[in-house]
Every structure is written in structure tokens, then in C-alpha cells.
């Protein structure tokens, strides 16, 4: 697996949404490459298409024209079934509002994507242990999400996203709902996952200061990248 390079390539992507009878274009001709192991922060005003980029890369939305290719797989050519399977193996999603299952404990939430793997119950349990350790929630296994703070819930969200060991993490405003301190902890955790575990991370954020953990930051406006900066601290 590690021999394959999971470079992300968007090529001449045209994307539009229907609005009444006409369609409003979001991207008219978007081309970009995100190399394997990158930590990219995407900023930009609301409605500029940041979430849409993540959705296209994660295979939960499809292009109208153009191509999205990741590690050699052409997402626009895959069937829904193949795409679902591919996503469960390659992509981890982190949401702004965590989106945890309210009736499942922290450990069970993390275990959820592992139900789709061939791992035995014992192997799953061990994996969940390790991951909750990594995100610093070793002592919160059996807590329901409602009993956890926002920062802790987002750690569970990240743990769930990396449970099946995906190469790419897509984070849509992961700290948007958190106070400064919790946000910083989450950002450090993401940086750790990037530097130590080599995950490619694409993070959408509205908060300038959170881009410091990224290797690169791009600014999106009206479907175009208007500037790109390489982070100094990378």
C-alpha cells in the first residue's frame, strides 16, 4: 500500500449546481495537485466552494466535467458501489459538528467504520484502543458523545476518521465550533497525524491562525485560487 503514492489531482474540473431551471457554476476550470503527505489549508469567503472541493476529493459529490484522480484511481469513472468502498479505505472525513452517533459510546463511534473491514472483534477492540490513545481519550471509552466536551467530541470524530487507516483526511472547519484552547489541541493533533503518520490532510478553515499547522495555504474566491502561500513553519 505504501508504495502507491496518493497524489490528488483535479483536472479541468467543472462543477455547477442547479438553481431553478438554470445552473450556477461553482468551478469552471479548476486544476490543482495536492501531493501525498501534504497538509493543505483552504481559506476563502463563505460560498466560495471550499466544502465542494472536499466533497469532490472525498467522492461524495461528482464533477460535471473534468477529472478527479487520486493515487491513480479516476473517481469520475467509478460506480457508486466502487466509490463507496474506495472511500471507506482511502478517505477519512472530519466534520465541523462532529456528526457522532449520539447513542453510541466514544469507542463504538470509532469502531463503526471498522465494521466494514475484515477485522475480528478482538482486532477491532485493539485498534480502537490504540486510536483513542493517539487522540488522547484513553479514559473516555465508554462515554456517550453528549457527556464529552466539544474538543473531546472532535477528537472522537478524528479517531473515527483515522480508524480504518486512510491515507487522506478531509477536515471541513474542524475547529469552527471550538474555543481557542480546544482548537489548538485539535490542530496539534492534526499536525501530528500529518508529520508522524504521514496522512495527507486538507483542512478548510475560516481562522487565519489555524493555518500555521499547515504546510501550504490556498485562498479560494469565486471558484478560483487567488493566492497561495507556503507556510514558514512547515
Amino acid at each position: 500500500m505504501t508504495s502507491v503514492s496518493y497524489d490528488i489531482e483535479l483536472n479541468g474540473v467543472y462543477k455547477s449546481y442547479p438553481l431553478g431551471k438554470s445552473r450556477i457554476p461553482i468551478f469552471e476550470d479548476l486544476t490543482m495537485t495536492i501531493p501525498d503527505g501534504d497538509f493543505l489549508a483552504i481559506m476563502g469567503p463563505s460560498g466560495s466552494g471550499k466544502s465542494t472541493i472536499l466533497n469532490l476529493i472525498g467522492g461524495i459529490d461528482t464533477v460535471v466535467r473534468g477529472h478527479v484522480s487520486i493515487g491513480g484511481s479516476m473517481l469520475d469513472k467509478m460506480s457508486t458501489r466502487a466509490l463507496t468502498r474506495w472511500r471507506s479505505e482511502v478517505i477519512g472525513f472530519v466534520f465541523q459538528f462532529y456528526n457522532l452517533m449520539p447513542m453510541l459510546s466514544a469507542a463504538q463511534n470509532v469502531e463503526l467504520p471498522l465494521l466494514l473491514t475484515d477485522l475480528s472483534a478482538a482486532e477491532r477492540r485493539e485498534r480502537v484502543h490504540t486510536i483513542l490513545d493517539i487522540v488522547g481519550l484513553a479514559d473516555r471509552h465508554d462515554h456517550l458523545p453528549s457527556l464529552l466536551s466539544g474538543g473531546q467530541q472532535q477528537r472522537v470524530g478524528i479517531a473515527r476518521a483515522i480508524a480504518s487507516d486512510p491515507r487522506i483526511l478531509l477536515c471541513d472547519e474542524p475547529t469552527g465550533d471550538l474555543d481557542r484552547k480546544s482548537a489548538d489541541e485539535i490542530l496539534e493533533l492534526l499536525q501530528l497525524l500529518n508529520t508522524k503518520l504521514g496522512k495527507t490532510i486538507i483542512m478548510v478553515t475560516h481562522d487565519e491562525s489555524s493555518t500555521r499547522v499547515a504546510k501550504r495555504t490556498v485562498i479560494l474566491d469565486k471558484g478560483r485560487f487567488v493566492s497561495e502561500e507556503i507556510a514558514q513553519c512547515a
Binding site: I60, S88, P102, L104
Partner: protein, 386 residues
């Protein structure tokens, strides 16, 4: 606790426990209504089961009787395979409110003519043949009275006195017979006609009915007309009907009430299930975001659908069990109270099977409709759902 699809289903059902319980109760009540109503329907149908038999009664009706001497004449008619005669004892046990159906019959021909309705074993017929005061008792009646074979019972007739004026008749039970089907009415007993007509003081050899088994393929309507024509000019004119018509004439007096009850109850059943379906559909629609998240995690549409369907199936299964248990408890009580109106009131396997099929159908529909909608929604849109 170990995470598994079944745990997921259980947690989903218990997270709004009150709602789940209320849904199960509603489904239970709906199927209770359904169970009782269908059992009534079956009971009515059972009482007027399809048969080619004819019944000859007095044209005057009421308590008028026919001479037993008609029997060989009817027997001699072309379309008649077999004929038997029936005399009502019109009796009670112990007190006048405790009326029991009791007929004096020629057991041998009766068993032949009614062979498809009641199961008379050769042993019980032989035992009854050996004792003039023997009676055979239907299972339902025996259970109601707590009688068993060998018991001696005393029936008091409202009208028939023995020579000497005594209206008490002592009989010995020679056997308990069953109906051919669960819903067959067996709430009566059969005494020996030869004994009765010898012992009775007045109206010897006058019978209430003749039961006729026509030859296969015989035109029963023509046969009925032929019999009535035969006695048109005699002292005791006859009225010959199919057994079905004879029974439904009796049941007709309840028909309008039955229709009304059926309507009201049917509407109640449908309404409750509609409310249940509506609630479930909304409950699942509430989970559109969750379904979107599961899809993001890599759960396929089929897998998610299975989880949702399993949930609605469990709810309906529990509700169905509750409803059928209530029905099973209620039916014997109702059967006792409505003994004379619906003799064969039972919860039959057929009713249970229909209820099961309905429950499965409703569960699948209630689960499939909203989850198909949620699954069709693009994931990106589902994720915006709050």
C-alpha cells in the same frame, strides 16, 4: 458492549424509548383489533360452511314438526344419497338459563350425512349403540360444562316429558366428538332418537328436521323443489333449503350489526396503522444526516437499508406479538359470551398468518419509503440536513 449491526439496531430502537414503546402499543392494539375482527369473520364463515346438504323443515316454521314417516319417502327420491332426522330436545341443565343444544338423532345415519362436519369415531358410535341412554357430546360443550366420557348428566326439557310427565332426562356420555375444523360448531350433544321417541310422552315420531346428503352432481335446487312438491298437499308441508341458506337465515339477523362493527373496526385498524407509519417515517427522516454520515464512512445503501428495515421489523414483530397475545386472551372470553351468536370463535392459524403477512408488509413499507428517500439524497445534501 461490542459494536455490531444488531447493537446498532437495538440502540436506535431504545434511544427514544418512549416513542418505541408507544409505537409497539399502537401496533399491538391495531393487530388486536384485527385479530378479533378476523376471528369473528371466520367464525361466521365457519358456521355457514359450504356444503351441498339440504335441510327439510316445516313450512310453517317455529316449533312445528314433521312426521318421521317422511324419511323413507325422501330416501327413495332419485337425487338423495342419504338422509337423517333431527329432533330438538329444547333442554337446559340445572337452571333454565343454562340452555344446551341437544338433538335426538339416528346416530348411524347422522354420522354418515354429517361425516364432513364432525369426526365420530367407530368406538364412540359402538359405545353409544350399546346403551339406549347414551349421548355423544361436542368438544366445545363438554369443555364448557366440564363433562367427560362416562359422566351421567340430567337434562330438563322445556317441552318434552317422558311418559309419566317427568321432564328430566338422564343420559350417560359415551364419547366426546370434535368438529372437522377448528371453527366447526360443536357446542351441542346428540342423544339416541330410538330411545327418545320411545320414551317421550307426546309427539312420538315427530321430528324437527331432516338432513339430506344429495348424490354427487345432483341438482340440489330441483331436489328441494321436488321434496316440497311431494308434501304440498299433506298435513305437514315442508320447506327445503340448502344448509348454507338455512344457517344464514339464522345469522342474517346479526348481519347489519356485523357489517357496522366490521366497518368501524376496520377504520380504526387502518387509522392506527397510518399513524404508526407516519410516526416511523418521520422518525427515520430525522436521521437523514446520520444516514449521510454512515454513507461517508463507507456504509453501502443496502447495508443502511437493512439496518433501518430490521428496526421497523422488530417494532412490528413486538407489536404483533402483543396484539396476538391480547387476542388469544380475549377470544375465549368473547367466545363464551357470544356462544349463541358466533359458535365457532377461535384464533385460527389462518388469522395469525394473515396478521403476520400484514405486519411484515407494513414494516417493510414504513422502513423502505423514508430510507429510500434518505439514500437517494446526495451525500453532500444529506450532510447539510439538520
Amino acid at each position: 458492549m461490542r459494536l455490531s449491526p444488531s447493537l446498532l439496531i437495538r440502540q436506535n430502537l431504545t434511544r427514544k424509548l418512549l416513542r418505541s414503546i408507544l409505537l409497539i402499543l399502537c401496533i399491538g392494539v391495531a393487530f388486536f383489533i384485527f385479530g378479533v375482527l378476523s376471528s369473528f369473520q371466520q367464525g361466521f364463515k365457519g358456521a355457514s360452511a359450504q356444503t351441498s346438504r339440504l335441510v327439510v323443515a316445516s313450512k310453517v316454521g317455529g316449533n312445528e314438526t314433521l312426521p318421521l314417516s317422511y324419511l323413507p319417502e325422501i330416501q327413495a327420491l332419485n337425487g338423495v344419497a342419504d338422509v337423517t332426522h333431527i329432533t330438538r330436545l329444547r333442554a337446559y341443565v340445572e337452571n333454565e338459563r343454562n340452555i344446551v343444544g341437544a338433538n335426538a338423532v339416528d346416530l348411524e345415519s347422522y354420522a354418515r350425512v354429517y361425516s364432513d362436519a364432525y369426526a365420530f369415531s367407530t368406538e364412540m358410535l359402538r359405545a353409544a349403540g350399546a346403551d339406549r341412554t347414551a349421548i355423544l357430546v361436542g368438544r366445545t360443550l363438554a369443555e364448557r360444562m366440564g363433562w367427560s366420557t362416562g359422566d351421567t348428566v340430567t337434562l330438563t326439557s322445556f317441552v318434552h316429558a317422558r311418559s309419566g310427565g317427568d321432564r328430566n332426562w338422564r343420559f350417560t356420555i359415551a364419547g366426546i366428538f370434535d368438529g372437522a375444523e377448528m371453527t366447526t360448531d360443536t357446542s351441542f350433544l346428540l342423544a339416541r332418537a330410538d330411545y327418545f321417541h320411545t320414551a317421550v310422552m307426546r309427539n312420538k315420531n315427530r321430528v324437527d328436521l331432516f338432513g339430506i346428503q344429495p348424490k354427487p352432481g345432483a341438482d340440489t335446487q330441483a331436489l328441494a323443489r321436488e321434496i316440497d312438491a311431494l308434501y304440498a298437499n299433506s298435513g305437514a308441508q315442508t320447506r327445503t333449503q340448502s344448509e348454507t341458506a338455512f344457517m344464514s337465515a339464522f345469522l342474517e339477523q346479526f348481519a347489519n350489526i356485523a357489517l357496522l362493527v366490521r366497518l368501524i373496526v376496520g377504520v380504526a385498524f387502518a387509522t392506527i396503522l397510518m399513524i404508526v407509519a407516519n410516526t416511523m417515517i418521520f422518525a427515520i427522516r430525522e436521521r437523514t444526516l446520520e444516514i449521510g454520515v454512515l454513507k461517508v464512512l463507507g456504509f453501502s445503501g443496502g447495508r443502511i437499508m437493512c439496518i433501518v428495515l430490521a428496526e421497523t421489523l422488530v417494532l412490528f414483530a413486538l407489536g404483533l406479538c402483543l396484539g396476538l397475545c391480547l387476542t388469544a386472551v380475549a377470544i375465549p372470553v368473547l367466545a363464551d359470551a357470544l356462544q349463541s351468536v358466533v359458535p365457532g370463535l377461535y384464533l385460527t392459524p389462518r388469522v395469525i398468518a394473515t396478521a403476520l403477512a400484514l405486519a411484515v408488509g407494513f414494516a417493510l413499507a414504513c422502513g423502505a419509503l423514508p430510507s429510500i428517500n434518505a439514500l437517494r439524497l446526495p451525500i453532500a445534501a444529506a450532510l447539510k440536513h439538520r
